[in-house]
Each structure stands twice: as C-alpha cells, then as structure tokens.
Amino acid sequence: MPTQNTQFRKKHRLHERIIEAIMFLFALFSLLITVGIVVILLRESYLFFSDPKVNLLGFLTGKDWQPMIDQFGFLPLLNATFTTSIIAMLLGIPVGLFVAVYLAEYASDRMRGILKPTLEVLAGIPTIVYGYFALTFMTPLLRMLFGQERVEIYNTGSAGLVIGILVLPLIATMAEDAISSVPKELRLASYALGGTKIETTFQVVIPAALSGLSATFLLALSRAIGETMVVALAAGAGPKLTADPFKAAETITGYIVRISGGDVSYNSVDYNSIFALGLVLFLITFTLNLISRKISNVFHQEYE
C-alpha cells in the first residue's frame, strides 16, 4: 500500500513550534535577569574601582568607609552585616529547628493546621514592619534588660534579633520539609529497635536530614545578609568597625538604602559605591545560594 508510508507523515503544527519557542524565550529571560544584574553591578563597580582614589586592596582591607572623604574600606560594613546575620542565626536556627521538629514529629494534625498558617502569616509580614518592631519594641527591650548606658539606641543586636525572628518561619518551614522528607521507614526502624521518640529524632532523623537542614540554614543566612529594612531602621546609620552588638553600625544593605534614599548624584563616587557594595552582596549571597542548592539537591537525591 503506497499510502501506508504517508499515513504517519509528520505534521508541521507550526503554531505548536511557535508556542514552544516563546516559552523557551520566556525561560531564557530569567537568565537575562542574572546577566543584567551581573553586567550592571560589574559596570558600575568598574567605574567605582577605576576612580583614582579607590583601589581594590584598600577596599578589601580598609577599616574606614566614608566615600565623601576618600575612605573606601568596606570592612566596617561587612563586619556589621555579619554581626547582624550571625545574631539572627543564633536566634533563628535553634528556634526554627525546634519549631520544625515540633511540627514534623510532635504536633497533632490540628495543631499543625493552626501553626503552619500562623508561621505563614509571620513570613508574609513585610520587612518594614519588622524594622518598625525592632525600633519600637526590641531596642527598648534590650535597653531595659542591659541598661540604657550599655545599649545604644541603634544597635546591631536589636536588628539581628529581629532578623532572626524574620527568618524563623523560613527556617521552620524548610527544616520541617527536610525533616518530613526523611523516610518514615527510618523512624519505624528506630522505634522497632526500642528507640524513644526523642532518640529517634535526634540520633536518626536529624542526622539523616542534616544536608537538607544545612541547605536551609545557608539559605536563611543568605536571606539575613540581604535583609535591608530592618537594619536600615534599627542597626545604625554610620559605618563603624565594632564587635559590640550593642553599638550602632551600618551594614552593606543599610548603606545602600541610606545613600539611595537620600538620592545620589549619578556618576558620583557615592552612586558607584553602592553598586560595588551591591556586587559584594550579590557575590556573597549567590555563593551561599549555590552551595545551599547543591546540598539540597544531594539531599533530595538521597531520598528519592
């Protein structure tokens, strides 16, 4: 039959091809965003570093940041960023992890049905509200506890703690996810050997979820490092190299938002400096995200 060879002949279906091509372009667009970010940050940073008064070594090692008077050492900003983030992690990780354990292992369905939306509410509150909270609640609280003399009105501690609260729902939900995706069989095996619930949780489940958990923690850290409004309102508005969490110090994001809130002159060294700092911020968070992603991929492969 001669028709036989034509009966399954491919149809062209041009419109399907066009649709697919458009969708592909859309997907490619996200790559364009990253390229855009990188190009813009690099270009403006290049302008910053090509300013004769700026040099890379000084930028990386200088202990003073005051571009108006040619001080371009970003260590104070970096230091404050890490101070707030570490404080945030000190609060967020244990509390978030315990909440996650409670949700995954202990809470009844009904309890979880109440708690998870509550956490979602907490996660959905705009960060400006947290900033306001840091200023009007956390700082006065710290000053009450540790003394007005000891605690400055703007301080990295208050901002850090509030960022800790802010990332808590993120940690709790993601950690719960990691804990819940540890196969039920492992728990059963532990119980079947006469392990108690707590022994099972700490010695079997959490070790098994460790890579998923560390991915969560890294992501939370990256979120804390990038957090802006809380530090803008509560951490302080002057670069300062200090390890004291009760002192004011400005973070990278705080500086960027302060300078751009004041509106900067294009092509001034101030304007370019925020892009250079943006680049630093991007590199830090991007690296953290990449590592976190890698780890969590491994984690999911383990249990799929």
Binding site: S108, D109, P183, E185, L186, R187, L188, A189, S190, Y191, A192, L193, G194, G195, T196, E199, Q203, V204, P207, A208, E302
Partner: protein
C-alpha cells in the same frame, strides 16, 4: 480434587511440622479489632502464635496483614488515628495495658520491614545504635560481630564495618536490618514482606536465614508469595476482606494443612490464583 497432586504440581516444599513436643504459645490475639480513625481495618482477630515457629500471614492486598503484624509490637501507636480493641498477650502480659511501655516491648519484639531501611550511618553503627539506646553493657565489637554472623552477613562486610550502610546491595541491606534487630536480643521478630523488594537470589538467602533464625526466635512473616509461605512457615494465617474492606482472619492452620486442605472456598481460590 486431588490434594497431593496440587502440592506436587505447585511444588510446595512444606516445612516439616515439629509437632512432637507440645507447642508453647508466646503471643495470643484475643478478639482484636483495629481501626484507622473511623475505618474498621481488622475485625475480631483471635489467634495463638507459637514459640520458635515461623508463622506466615497471607491474603490479598489491604486485608490487614501488616496492620495485625504491627499490633503485636505496638507499632500502630506510631500511626495517627490507629486504635485497638481486644487483647494482645505476650507471654501472658497484655501489651495494651496502660502501664506497659511500648518502647520496652519493641526491644523484645523486633521488626523487619518490606523495604530495607538501614540508617544512613556506618554498618557498625547500624548494629550498635539500638543496643546503645537500650543501655547495652557488653562489648560492642563482639555484639556487632555475632549479630552480623547470625544474619549471615559477617563474611561479606567484616572488612568494611565503617562504610555507610546505604552502599550495600538491597539483599545485604535487608540482612543488615535483620542483624540490627537481632542485636537488641528480641524474642520475636516480625517481618513484613521482607523479601518482596529483593531479587530471587537475595530472596532465597533471606528464606534460608529465616529457617536458621527460628531456632532462637519466634518469627512472624507477612508475604505475598504463596511459595515463600509454604517454604518457610510452620503455620499460615489467611486473611480476607469483606465488602466494607474490613479485614478478618479467614483461616489459620498448620501450613501444610492450609495449603493442601483449605477449609474455606476463599482460601482455596486465593491459593490457586483466582484473585489477589
């Protein structure tokens, strides 16, 4: 119908029933009803499990075999909404009495699952862990060795005890799980389709192992494979479901008896592959 012929043709190599000595009951179920929430999963199960025997649970999917099995070491406690009425006695002690701590029961009545589920730790730790949380006071190296030997795994892993258990093959993992169970010195071992995820060779090694272990332990095994039930078990319980999807114990006999001379038509139909 010619029963010997059936046996011959199905090539069912029955365990010789050790009916010389009188059998001692180690576990008995007395009118056990199990529910998941409002769903009645198993109704009115009553049976005696004999010491140092292998008892097989067979029946179509969903008939409650696993559910009954789990009720014996109170593993159903871990399932939300699972409740039990009736009595489960272990050496005469009601396991569902208020004062009984399920954690202590589970050490005495171990369990092996369908999918091999070693902990993502070293082989050594897999064995030692259960003993440690239960406060084992002996020599751990010795414990690991003897347990692995009893599970017929020692020779294969003795040089890589520090290696992650997940890198073993499926059959080895399952034997490791058996070794891990043995390490806490249980009296009874419950096995829920322990070989159904394994290839034929690994399966036959597990079957051999079961026959060895029965000298020291009482074993209850759930299986889908009729041949396996006939090869390893002394007693077989056949479960069925009614139209409400509630499981019940249809027939419980010495294995040979049940396979060759089933009392109920359902049993016969199930054995001959009519459904399930």
């Amino acid at each position: 119908m010619n029963t010997t012929n059936l046996a011959e043709n199905l090539q069912l190599p029955f365990q010789s029933e050790s009916s010389v000595e009188p059998l001692k009951t180690i576990i008995s179920l007395d009118n056990v009803n199990i529910r998941y929430g409002s769903f009645h999963a198993v109704k009115d199960a009553s049976m005696e499990i004999y010491e140092h025997q292998v008892t097989a649970f067979i029946g179509p999917s969903g008939c409650g075999k696993s559910t009954v099995l789990r009720s014996i070491n109170r593993m159903n406690d871990m399932i939300r909404g699972a409740t039990l009425q009736g009595k489960v006695l272990f050496n005469g002690q009601d396991l569902y009495e208020k004062s009984v701590d399920p954690v202590l029961i589970r050490r005495r009545i171990g369990m092996v699952f369908q999918k091999p589920n070693p902990f993502p730790k070293s082989i050594y730790e897999n064995i030692a862990w259960g003993a440690r949380v239960n406060g084992y006071r002996g020599d751990y190296d010795e414990l690991v060795e003897t347990s692995l030997q009893r599970a017929a795994l020692w020779d294969e892993v003795k040089d890589k005890l520090k290696q992650n258990a997940l890198r073993l093959s499926g059959g080895q993992q399952q034997r490791l799980c058996i070794a891990r169970t043995i390490a806490v010195q249980p009296e009874v071992i419950l096995m829920d389709e322990p070989a159904s995820a394994l290839d034929p060779i690994a399966t036959s090694r597990i079957e051999e192992l079961i026959l060895q272990l029965k000298q020291s332990y009482t074993i209850i095994i759930v299986t889908h494979n009729m041949g396996q039930a006939s090869r390893v078990s002394d007693y077989t319980a056949f479960f069925m479901v009614d139209q409400n999807r509630t499981g019940y114990l249809q027939e419980y006999e010495a294995t040979e008896q049940l396979f060759l001379n089933p009392v109920h038509k359902k049993t016969e139909e199930y054995i001959s592959g009519k459904f399930g």
